[in-house]
């Protein structure tokens, strides 16, 4: 049974994880998309503002996407997302981190331009095993509504 718009009432939606992030993954993503020394080189990273090897913020976003997919997007009648209102990187992603994802529904409303769909705005928070908040995102997704029950049907 696919999740539809009505399955996303405002409030706490769910917690997902843990997801272990390895040093190899951090280095591989950084080499491909974000080859800054603070994400690739232990010595340079220790001298950086983040004081040690850290994952790319875009890697953390991409892992968050995968955790959302595994957690609920993969079984949601989602039509995609128009964007991200706000995203904050609050603490560095470190090799060996076990990430937990918390999702809250901030707002759910029926789309005016496409009434068979709704816009679900959620707040996603990624924490490490120590409970430190690494990343916080507010983003809408477009979700299909459940078809109207047929005329004359009870309820």
């Amino acid at each position: 049974m696919m999740l539809t718009f009505d399955d996303f009432p405002p409030g706490h939606f769910g917690s997902f994880g843990p997801r272990r992030v390895t040093r190899e993954e951090i280095l591989a993503f950084a080499a491909e998309f974000d080859p800054q020394p603070m994400h690739l080189d232990e010595d340079a990273a220790s001298r950086s503002m983040l004081k040690g090897l850290s994952g790319s913020g875009w890697h953390l976003c991409s892992i968050m996407m995968r955790m959302m997919f595994d957690g609920f997007i993969g079984r949601t009648a989602s039509l995609g997302s128009p964007g991200v209102n706000e995203l904050r990187w609050l603490a560095p992603l470190r090799p060996g981190d076990d990430l937990m994802l918390d999702v809250e529904i901030a707002e759910a409303r029926v789309s005016r331009s496409r009434p068979s769909t709704g816009i679900v705005t959620f707040k996603a928070m990624i924490r490490n095993a120590a409970g430190q908040l690494l990343c916080e995102m507010i983003s809408p997704i477009i979700v299909e509504r459940r078809p109207e029950p047929a005329m004359g049907q009870a309820g």
Partner: protein, 159 residues
């Protein structure tokens, strides 16, 4: 890379282009965003996107890739002139990220970055905070991607 003092509001850098081949789209999606319209041509055609579409996080990551490459080019140029090279700090985040048009297989996005605001960091006096609008425009001239990104930029005489 430039120092905080060298950065002016309205400065624009052309970052270069990235081609989203079907192979790259599927590879990124399989790892990070395996929604059906990012993995399968036919599912993409049936979706709002109208074709195999790149994950939005793939588009953002490609923009980052070109930003870093541009920074490294500038650093090499500064070093060649015998100038001190600025090493940029991390980013505290971004706002107003918009996936405006789908990025479909074989689309070529041209990325650019334009400075919108700059201010000194209150907590870290050796750093400034710069906001830039990073955009991706496809080969048809349509704006497909836009984000207002923030970064810590070192001050020239921070020691």
């Amino acid at each position: 890379m430039r120092f905080f003092e060298d950065i002016e509001i309205g400065q624009r850098r052309e970052l270069g282009s990235f081609t989203f081949t079907a192979e790259l789209i599927r590879k990124f999606a399989a790892q990070f965003d395996p929604q059906r319209f990012h993995l399968d041509e036919e599912e993409g055609r049936k979706s709002l996107f109208g074709g195999l579409a790149a994950s939005g996080w793939h588009v953002g990551s490609a923009c980052m890739k070109l930003m870093v490459a541009d920074g490294q080019r500038q650093a090499r140029e500064a070093a060649a002139r015998g100038e001190k090279v600025a090493i940029w700090g991390p980013s505290p985040g971004f706002r107003e990220l918009r996936w405006i048009k789908p990025v479909l297989a074989n689309d070529i996005l041209h990325f650019a970055s334009e400075v919108e605001t700059k201010r000194l960091s209150e907590k870290r006096p050796e750093w400034g905070i710069v906001q830039a609008r990073n955009t991706g425009t496809n080969q048809r001239g349509e704006l497909a991607f836009s984000v207002l990104a923030t970064a810590f930029v070192p001050r020239r005489n921070a020691g």
